[in-house]
């Protein structure tokens, strides 16, 4: 088995049209950082940089397992990554740019589902560039924009020079309402220190340990139950025997018109998003892997369609190393990584971003895994 460090890190760059993605990409390619990137782009023409490893992609989303929609992958990405891996040593890292309208899930799932890709490359981070002036509007009318925020590990809140301080806090609170775990970096013209964005994987998973659950929690806990019918669009798919999912998970609920309540937590404005929630769970100690592993696997099958991203760092009883995992919908990927440090508290934490999260059930079931 190859360890995480042998694998080529892949940064996925998302962002709604015009947010500043291409500017960031050009910055990455032109700044002197001594690293060589292979870049997979959608619009060749937009890249003004002469990089011999720029590859055009065509965003072919493939369903796996005879039509199960939560097991989608990017077929073109598998093809391109396979080709790049034959040129090992020619580049240090890979950047995948997606179009503004792309759903990030198939991109992320490609790294977990395809065996060959997963053996050679690891998803380092999903970086979303958001337009400070227009994001709030896009969150109302563009489900892709919301998915891109929900999926992000790092969010570049760009064009901050075009909004007032108040507007900036407003849009940041909107982002936090959807994804409280992502690191938000405020930028103008996508100007960011590149080491803040690239090769961040370990850091961003560690980050979930430092999130205070209280920060995420609202005063009223019944925001998960909207008391109105969501009217899901349940298409019927043919399913292969390997997949237990029975829903179309990529629908949007189409009720973004509601007024969202804002309230303050420790001076920060806080919004609840109607369709996207997050849950953070912590056990201040160890979990029993013989309870935890069967539970997360069953949870992926039963509830995975509602989880856009979920991550965890766990202290397993009798194990010196930290178990670190991340999931996208029903796909989970985890392994034992570095040892717990002597001065580090052995504790176990899970975070979820998704739709219709039943926090009480998740908490109860997770706590039952305590060692």
């Amino acid at each position: 088995m190859s360890s995480a460090s042998d694998k080529t890190p892949v940064t996925v760059l998302t962002g709604y049209l015009g947010a500043g993605k291409t500017t960031l990409l050009n910055r990455i390619l032109s700044e002197p950082h001594g690293k060589k990137y292979a870049v997979i782009v959608n619009e060749f023409g937009e890249i003004g940089i002469d990089n011999d490893l720029v590859v055009g992609a065509d965003e072919e989303v493939f369903e796996m397992n005879n039509g199960c929609i939560c097991c989608t992958v990017r077929g073109d990405l598998i093809r391109i990554l396979e080709g790049l891996m034959k040129r090992k040593g020619k580049f240090d890292a890979i950047i995948v740019e997606t179009t503004g309208l792309a759903d990030p899930a198939p991109v992320a799932q490609t790294f977990f589902i395809d065996e060959e890709v997963g053996r050679k490359a690891r998803l380092d981070a999903v970086v979303t560039v958001a337009d400070a002036k227009w994001l709030t509007d896009r969150l109302k009318d563009a489900p892709e924009a919301k998915s891109q925020i929900a999926f992000a590990d790092v969010i570049l809140l760009n064009k901050t020079d075009l909004v007032s301080g108040e507007e900036l806090e407003e849009v940041e609170a909107r982002i936090r309402g959807i994804n409280p775990y992502a690191r938000i970096i405020r930028t103008v013209k996508s100007a960011v220190a590149l080491d803040e964005v690239l090769d961040k994987g370990a850091f961003d998973l560690d980050r979930i340990l430092s999130i205070e659950p209280a920060f995420l929690e609202a005063d009223d806990h019944d925001h998960h139950h909207h008391g109105h019918d969501h009217g899901h669009d349940h298409h019927h798919h043919e399913h292969g025997p390997d997949c237990g999912c029975g829903h179309d998970h990529h629908h949007d609920h189409g009720h973004e018109k509601h007024d969202h309540g804002a309230h303050a937590h420790g001076g920060l404005k806080h919004y609840h998003d109607e369709t996207m929630q997050s849950v953070a769970l912590e056990i201040p100690g160890e979990v029993d892997p013989n309870k935890f592993m069967p539970w997360v696997n069953a949870l992926a099958q039963s509830d995975g369609q509602n989880f856009l991203r979920w991550k965890g760092i766990l202290a397993f009883k009798g194990e010196d190393r930290r178990f670190v995992f991340q999931g996208v919908h029903m796909i989970l990927d985890g392994d034992l990584q570095r040892e717990w440090k002597a001065d580090e508290a052995r504790r176990s934490k899970l975070v979820f971003i998704g739709k219709e999260l039943d926090e009480a059930k998740l908490r109860r079931e997770f706590e039952a895994c305590a060692a």
Binding site: G75, I80, K86, R87, D114, G240
Partner: protein
């Protein structure tokens, strides 16, 4: 004759000539007397009696290759398809905008290549035809007779007749089809899939054959010399499906040969005898006899990563191999 024993197998490892390829070996074959290795760094390495020579071929890397007796065709990320023959300079046989994702060699000097959805076929007289597949082409294979090209893509295979005006014949099956091969008698088309399975069609009536149960993705297929069996990688043994019957392998169990605690990555059937060379992910190479499953070690599990290429010479006296990290060599079989 007797062979030394190594790792529990009769071993040919003292008959291996190593070759320093130094880059991902995409294909290994023989042209004339030379062993030839198409490499991920864009070069093609010729290893013969007077040493090794490296021909720069593609500006970038070799991404795909096809071999036929006396011919090697490579496709690169420079958008070119090149044809190599013994004693001749490489010839540019095809071009496209973008990476060449697949190449194939057909009868009478025909070649085919593809770049994303664009598929090109050039017959032996130079007549060029193009076809736009419904989604990116992943694998190409010519039918053994006639001028017909199988194009593996998302949700099936298109059987394209480059000289005909009509629409290709579609063989449909949900999912992403990657590599494709025609049975030597032309009766069946078989693909490897993104899922851990093969899918086959009987060409005459489109009857489906689903061959599943693999623990991993299957990325290597080869027909035995008599055309009766299809050997496949993707498991901790070679899985060999019987195709002699009218309905192919339906309702029949495959043979499992060369069981080892490592995944088979490449298979290459001997060109004359009922023997298959198996290359494993741990770098080991075994020769396995179909009749009784007898095994001979051609290369022990050494450094260099998974075996990525295997190729026999025309008479089956030598086997060329290469690995992911650029280890390569030639195994000479004992005579008689």
């Amino acid at each position: 004759m007797s062979m030394p024993i190594e790792a529990g197998y009769p071993s040919l490892s003292d008959r291996v000539t190593t070759v320093e390829a130094g880059a991902y070996v995409v294909a290994a074959t023989f042209l004339g007397d030379a062993a030839v290795f198409a490499l991920g760094d864009g070069s093609v390495l010729f290893s013969g009696e007077d040493g090794d020579t490296r021909a720069p071929a593609h500006d970038g890397g070799v991404l795909c290759a096809a071999v036929a007796p006396g011919v090697l065709v490579t496709g690169g990320d420079d958008g070119k398809a090149l044809r190599f023959k013994a004693g001749a300079a490489p010839e540019t046989v095809g071009e496209a905008q973008g990476w060449i994702d697949a190449v194939a060699i057909g009868p009478d000097g025909a070649v085919a290549w593809s770049s994303a959805k664009k598929v090109f076929a050039r017959d032996g007289k130079g007549g060029l035809r193009t076809y736009e597949a419904p989604s990116a082409a992943r694998g190409l294979a010519f039918a053994p007779k006639g001028y017909q090209l199988a194009v593996a893509r998302y949700n099936g295979v298109s059987l394209w007749f480059p000289r005909a005006e009509g629409a290709p014949k579609e063989l449909s099956w949900k999912g992403s089809h990657v590599d494709v091969t025609f049975a030597p008698d032309g009766r069946f088309v078989v693909t490897t899939m993104q899922e851990n399975a093969l899918h086959g069609w009987r060409v005459a009536d489109g009857a489906h054959m689903r061959m599943s149960g693999y623990p991993g993705k299957v990325r290597s297929l080869d027909w035995t010399a008599d055309g009766k069996w299809l050997a496949s990688a993707g498991a901790d043994a070679a899985i060999i499906w019987p195709f002699q019957a009218k309905d192919g392998p339906m309702g029949k169990a495959p043979k499992e040969l060369g069981v080892r605690p490592s995944r088979v990555a490449r298979v290459a059937a001997h060109p004359k005898a009922p023997v298959i060379a198996l290359g494993y992910e741990d770098g080991c190479i075994l020769l396995v006899r179909m009749a009784d499953g007898a095994e001979i070690l051609a290369r022990p599990a050494l450094a260099g990563g998974p075996v990525t290429a295997l190729g026999w010479d025309r008479i089956g006296s030598r086997l060329a191999f290469g690995t992911e990290d650029g280890a390569a060599g030639v195994v000479a079989l004992p005579e008689g």
